[in-house]
């Protein structure tokens, strides 16, 4: 059942004000709505070293009202598997184990432990908040950074390679639920986390979390950037339930009604793309279009 109006979202907060995340943090908004969708009394969160650790505060102060385990960078999937096994061994039922990791902890450093956990079919939810770089340590390049983005480790030529298609890698494990979401569409995000909570087995949600200091756009444009990413199909909102593909929210509307914007619109609002050339924009456009038509085709096939 889809949540129709913003007024239907729960009012209770499980992450209190006073977090140390930056102003206008896309992750913070994601986390806030995700915790509302979960049952925080029965949720255990596993967090690697990331922006999430910053958000969780400096010891001994924390703004979060859920049980949280901080684990090493490369071991998010393994730590979550351990928690699941521990709960089973002690006979505690009804808990949802959720791992929250950034793109660095998912695409690069944590991929082996995530792949291991998915292969074992561990009963947990993995949320990757993709802010397209190692933002916590100062905007270094990750394999999730888009081509043409200037980072502190690609300062002169900008990044030359396209973004890794992590979702395809995750999908190849044939897990029951894979989805993408965005904090700019909180109702969609809420529904997907809700849905994932009810499913047994490994669940993976990738959230595109815009990062104002890392990407170089004004704080107030956070929601706008997320919407623009969906409108240009840079980030496509969809879900795959038991292999059945379906576009959702803004991406569904885009597929039905058209009106896709060009990547140039998305690129010009961010200072990380200040060195992008016309050729690179063209290449990014082609890369995005190819993905988008693949998704459209899969959406049509999923329906018939």
């Amino acid at each position: 059942m889809a949540t129709k109006a913003a007024k239907e979202l729960p009012k209770e907060e499980f992450i209190l004000p006073g977090t140390r995340s930056c102003a206008a943090c896309g992750l913070m908004l994601t986390y806030r709505h995700s915790l509302k969708a979960l049952d925080p009394g029965k949720t255990i969160v596993a967090v690697p070293a990331s922006c999430m650790t910053v958000l969780h505060g400096v010891y001994p102060i924390t703004p979060v009202k859920v049980i949280c385990v901080n684990n090493p960078f490369a071991a998010t999937g393994a730590a979550a598997s351990g928690i699941v096994a521990g709960l089973k061994a002690t006979g505690k039922a009804g808990y949802t184990v959720v791992a929250f990791a950034g793109d660095g902890g998912t695409y690069d450093i944590g991929i082996q432990s995530l792949s291991g956990a998915l292969e074992r079919g561990t009963d947990f939810m993995y949320v990757c908040y993709d802010n397209e770089g190692y933002m916590n340590t100062g905007t270094q390049r990750s394999s999730a950074s888009p081509a043409g983005a200037v980072t502190t480790t690609t300062p002169i030529l900008a990044k030359l390679q396209h973004k890794k298609d992590m979702l395809r890698i995750v999908e190849a494990h044939r897990i029951p639920y894979v989805a993408t979401a965005s904090p700019s569409f909180p109702l969609d995000l809420y529904d997907k986390v809700r849905k994932a909570k009810e499913i047994k087995g490994s669940r993976y949600i990738e959230v595109h979390a815009p990062c104002p200091p890392g990407w170089g756009f004004p704080n107030k444009d956070l929601i706008k950037m997320g919407k623009l990413a969906a409108d240009t199909a840079v980030h496509v909102l969809y879900e795959i339930v038991d292999g059945k593909f379906r576009l959702t929210s803004r991406s569904l509307r885009l597929a039905e009604k058209g009106g896709k914007k060009t990547v140039a619109d998305y690129v010009k609002g961010q200072t990380r793309f200040k060195k992008i050339t016309e050729g690179q924009i063209q290449a990014l456009q082609e890369f995005t279009d190819r993905r988008w038509y693949e998704f459209m085709e899969r959406h049509q096939n999923g329906r018939s």
Binding site: P63, K65, N219, L222
Partner: protein, 98 residues
């Protein structure tokens, strides 16, 4: 109430560095980071609650009894999302200290 790290002695640290009291960051006022302050115009507001949904810091709460939105300036970081996303421009950002 949990004390900040510099006021704690080592005997007070829980084994394993466990934080036993959840949600204790309310003593940390992030409102001091703010350079621009959102000002709420109640008469223009249509109560769509979009600002409440979009606030990353949960600094805006709806007050159902008084039928208005309430800003918590102790924690508002002044990002300006509420003012930008407001469909009727009922929130204005002003320079802090004016």
């Amino acid at each position: 109430m949990t004390k900040p790290m510099d006021e704690m002695t080592w005997q007070e640290v829980e084994p394993g560095g466990v934080i036993s009291e959840p949600g204790c960051a309310s003593s940390y006022h992030t409102g001091t980071w703010r350079s621009e302050k959102p000002i709420y115009k109640e008469e223009i507001c249509i109560r769509c609650q979009r600002c409440f949904i979009m606030c990353p810091d949960a600094s805006i709460t709806p007050d159902f009894e008084k039928n208005r939105m309430v800003w918590n300036y102790d924690y508002c970081k002044g990002c300006g999302i509420c003012a930008y996303e407001c469909p009727v421009n009922a929130i204005e950002m002003v320079q802090e200290g004016e």
